[in-house]
Symmetry: D2
Subunit: 384 residues, 4 copies
């Protein structure tokens, strides 16, 4: 249960109907630690599918709503001891902003999938709404939930690798190698439809993860970007491949290689950072290990769960080393920390430092701005 | 919720007090898919700690029992729509048998940690009780819950690697490199105390996992074993290291390398099997991949979640390839399948083939017998 | 011995004095197969060190020359049955062009380290000289000598990975993380001195290898480049880091990540190529294996020496699989093939197809042009 | 050239006719550093093939002898400044002993392939002959020539991993998965013919390498062995698979897993050693790296060529880190050191400590005795 409230946090979900991948991930992530409880939802644009999903999840039928507006109003009208404390938004991108607004206005804390919105202007609006209401707003940049990513951040902050010089971030997937969007694959269809995805496909979908990861781990600010976007699959109009060069404040340089048409790649997010005293290397597909390299000393391999890790990494860990944790556990770390921060705020307390370690509305705004800069640079073929 | 019952399965837990590692794993595994619900427990030999754990888990205080006997009786007396359907037994080994008996007698299905019992005679007794009552009995040999282990089994059953010739199973850990049992580490203390662990330490703890894995994946029957046990840490009396050679029915040979004093190893369970047409290699620490090797063709790396995998492997998978699943997810597969088989039985239905794929009392008996044979061979320094 | 001549090929060396790294590599590469014999040299700008090296290598003292001009003249004046057939040029870059000219003019075949020259104009001059004289000119882009790189080329040529879409080439080293050029490290000193290295440091030194590798393996022509160069080590004037985006004829895109200040990296040359039917991945630090990835089939790992490889890969192999070959063996493949082509030409014969597989003056020119384009794009901050 | 003699060492070869694998390896290993020169040979039991090989290698036809006895006599009769200093014996096992005797009697230093002989009695005889003549006798247990294996030895000698407790050595190959001995494969034919191979096949061929490696790296003495041998390929009479348990003096335990029928394995020699302070892991197929593991600190990966390595490892290295060295280079280290020790002895000097680091007749005897013990234990099914 939520330690600040002495009960589970009650939440509702918008999106995540039967068969939707990311909704199911959010539910498993919320369930894992027994601190969240799903009690309501508006799971689909089809009322029938909403009700079906409510049944499958064992919800009270009265709380399987036809649409998110009804849900926001109805939940707000419920008594304190039963209405939802928070909402999870797992819809296509274009709905993030209106749904989030509706629930913030209803006094409900928000967990929202990334990217926060499809335009920087909307993101700014949302940020102001969050600040005005004083509610918690978490963005599920889930890769920063990995314990070893938290360790990477601490290693860099500690100065052990010296002054940072170079960042190489790659995110290579292959799932869009074929025109799935024509083949009825639902996720591909909306991600490659500007009306639902917004103006960017690959960059908004996975480039934004890489950007957030770099930001979280290194703390570096981007001064300028140069980008090249491509639609490498014939007939596709939105970008499925992007290369972005960056100049960071302070002089470090970066390369972002982002693609969804690297045939045969699965979910190849990787981050390498080099300072003047050493480098680090992390791969999402082997999330439990971090490699540190040094000019004149052996490479070190740090593993999740080990006693020598930082408090932040240990806080985010459930199992001993050698007992693999994965994607859901990292995702659950966003939920656990967001939930505890929500619980603390509801209880009028301050959440602990380690509990406040999750991506929020400020990270969300930063991500949307990165996407916009990349689009502009590619269009103008120059550094912006 | 449990699809055969249309509600969550209610379960209680024996053992798994505050700070216990494996109890927490069982609870996460049960929670992950939203098909099990914890409603009762006798978590510790200390009534106070029982109550504390009940509070932390948000249980009804009336169902945080002082001891397992009270719990079995009290739950049996509850009405059908509230009493537990099943019990999870996560105590030290010596209690598995009496606790399981108590709940079987009370008509409660059982999920029991391995090894099933500390003697083959007890295991046989338990098996008879299971058969008599018609209840479900699952043993959490959790490593066979990995989707890719299921794929390994299918590859071998399909005959693709030919007639089996050689099995190399290793389970190397390093956590008992120091005398933790003297240092107040609770798990080490009971695992190296024959009164609680039974006559074997390393073999019963992790050798039994390796044995079950070999059995599950290859289907081979052991004809004879030769074993060498050692207590490599000075002052220790129970074995912390074991090497076991095996002769399988049909002529194949096996080697089991089991140790808990391989300093620096984490949880190094690995299985290699060679037939006359190829070999396979699986490592628990990279559980999402299976390597197949062939005499005159490139090595293949199969990854969890891929479309080319067998139905059994796909059934056990929650995420696409490249999105790592881990230890808890594999453990949850035991719970999900056991729970569905329980649900089906309660509903008077037959569970599906894929749902019946979990280790049961027969596997449990087999495991205890393996341990006994190993002990005897080592004592007599000969093949038995 | 050289199979076309029935004797070893006699060669001299320019550069490669005591302690020089690359000269020793050339000598080992030439010695490995017993087809080349070192008989003369002008190893250093210091006559004393020339003589010392001649002594250490067991040369006839009369053929340890004070400088390359004397050597070219004196060797040309020797009788046919003793003078050198070929020369190896292993000097700093600025000398490649004059030394090569001197020996071509003397009728001597040339093996020259890369880059061929320090300007495209010089490279063109040299190309004309080669064509005029009809002599063999090999450039030691040694990484294309690896058998598995040859296999990669054949896999792509065969169309197995479909139409090419994306190339990711990286060459990450860390040896220039500190200002070795100030610390008296000889190789660093000349590579970061424009008078000896030419106008480019990192790009000419290792970017040119990456470029040649991409060209050799994919056959793709570059239409345009966008480059960002940086001197990431304070106080350094030449570039030690480069990122290059490329547009290939036909629409494929490329990224080249080149750096010599990735602290802790050793010799991280890696090539990934993706087509619409699959991708390949090769890493120089594990040169004996090639990974092929496919959208809906297991990854394959091809290993050097295996019977299923192409004739070109098998021709370049000396040992069975599992018996590692390395850098020297790949380098020796350049020597063996260049030597056989030289031998065949001297014998008035045609070398076999597999024997003509080594980088030549045309590749050399292409490489120098790539360096010049990169420098120009970086200067002008635009696609060129 | 040989630094102690100021000229190359002249050697002859017995065995290694056209197409023989290991003879060619010895020649490349001897050629690599330019310190050995092949001048004579008796390459085959067929005089014709002897002459053909002599021609192909560019030998003086007078020194391509019909058989090894003629060669030993004729070379002994040549003047000091032309006769061979040493002989390489690369024949099937049964000839090692008589050939070695003939050349020792002729005052010629010996490099002999492993195992030294086919019986311990013969090995003892040979050892006495070596001691009597004062000649150098090297046995090409080539895997101890890897620089990183030398580093492993130094790490253990330094006590960094504490008191040794456990050794796991495996040597898994797959090349004998099929009955190549029936298919005319020459090497398989003699290795599985007791008249040529001696009483053991897999153990003598590769088990002896594993044994030497363990001995070299750990220095441990074996007190007792228990072995299980098997002929896993139907119709084969000699063993193609062996499992050996060992008890070392001082209480450490060992497991040797040796097989040539692990379908799909290439040359899988691997050594793991665990002490009470840490463990090490080395794999021949990635020979340039050594992993050190510790109970409470990150795993370290040491790489060949790095400045932090021991003098012995650096002495054995030709290239910087990241520039892979392989099998031939390790083999060449045996030749270089043996050659320098021979040269020193011929020059009446003492070779340096690092130069005397190669396997000699004492190691050879030890290896043959290991094979005999294993055979006896397997026959008697008990510890011996």
């Amino acid at each position: 249960m939520n330690p600040h409230l002495g009960r589970k946090l009650r939440y509702g979900m918008v999106g995540g109907g039967p068969g939707a991948f990311i909704g199911q991930v959010h539910r498993m992530a919320a369930a894992l630690d027994g601190e969240w409880e799903l009690v309501a939802g508006a799971f689909s644009s089809s009322p029938e599918r909403c009700r079906e999903q409510g049944r499958l999840l064992g919800l009270d039928p009265a709380r399987a709503y036809d649409d998110y507006r009804t849900m926001a109003e109805a939940e707000a009208a419920l008594p304190d001891d039963s209405r939802i404390d928070a909402v999870s938004i797992v819809t296509p991108n274009h709905l993030h902003s209106p749904v989030a607004r509706a629930f913030l206005d209803a006094g409900v804390h928000v967990v929202c999938d990334k990217p926060m919105t499809t335009s920087a202007a909307d993101a700014e609006d949302l940020r102001r709404a969050v600040e005005r209401t004083g509610l918690v707003f978490a963005v599920t940049y889930n890769y920063t939930g990995y314990p070893i990513v938290k360790e990477a951040r601490r290693q860099l902050l500690s100065g052990r690798l010296g002054t940072l010089r170079k960042v190489v971030a790659e995110y290579s997937q292959g799932w869009l190698t074929k025109r799935l969007e024509e083949a009825g694959q639902k996720q591909a269809a909306w991600r490659l439809d500007p009306a639902q995805a917004g103006p960017s496909s690959a960059v908004a979908d996975i480039g934004s993860h890489a950007h957030n990861l770099v930001r979280y781990v290194t703390g570096l600010e981007i001064d300028a970007v140069f980008a090249e976007l491509a639609s490498l699959v014939p007939g596709r109009t939105m970008e499925d491949d992007a290369s972005v060069l960056t100049r960071f404040a302070g002089g470090a340089r970066g390369v972002f290689c982002v693609s969804q048409v690297c045939a045969g790649e699965e979910n190849g997010l990787r981050l390498r950072v080099y300072g003047d005293a050493g480098g680090l290397d992390w791969r999402q597909e082997r999330p439990d290990e971090l490699r540190l390299r040094f000019p004149d000393a052996p490479e070190q391999r740090l593993t999740r769960g080990s006693p020598y890790l930082s408090a932040a990494a240990r806080h985010a860990t459930r199992l001993p080393p050698g007992h693999p944790e994965g994607f859901v556990e990292a995702f659950a770390n966003i939920y656990r920390n967001a939930g505890r921060t929500i619980g603390a705020r509801m209880a009028g307390k301050e959440a602990g430092t380690l509990e406040r370690d999750f991506p929020d509305h400020v990270d969300g705004v930063r991500g949307v701005r990165f996407v916009e800069s990349v689009l502009r640079s590619a269009r103008e073929e120059r550094w912006v």
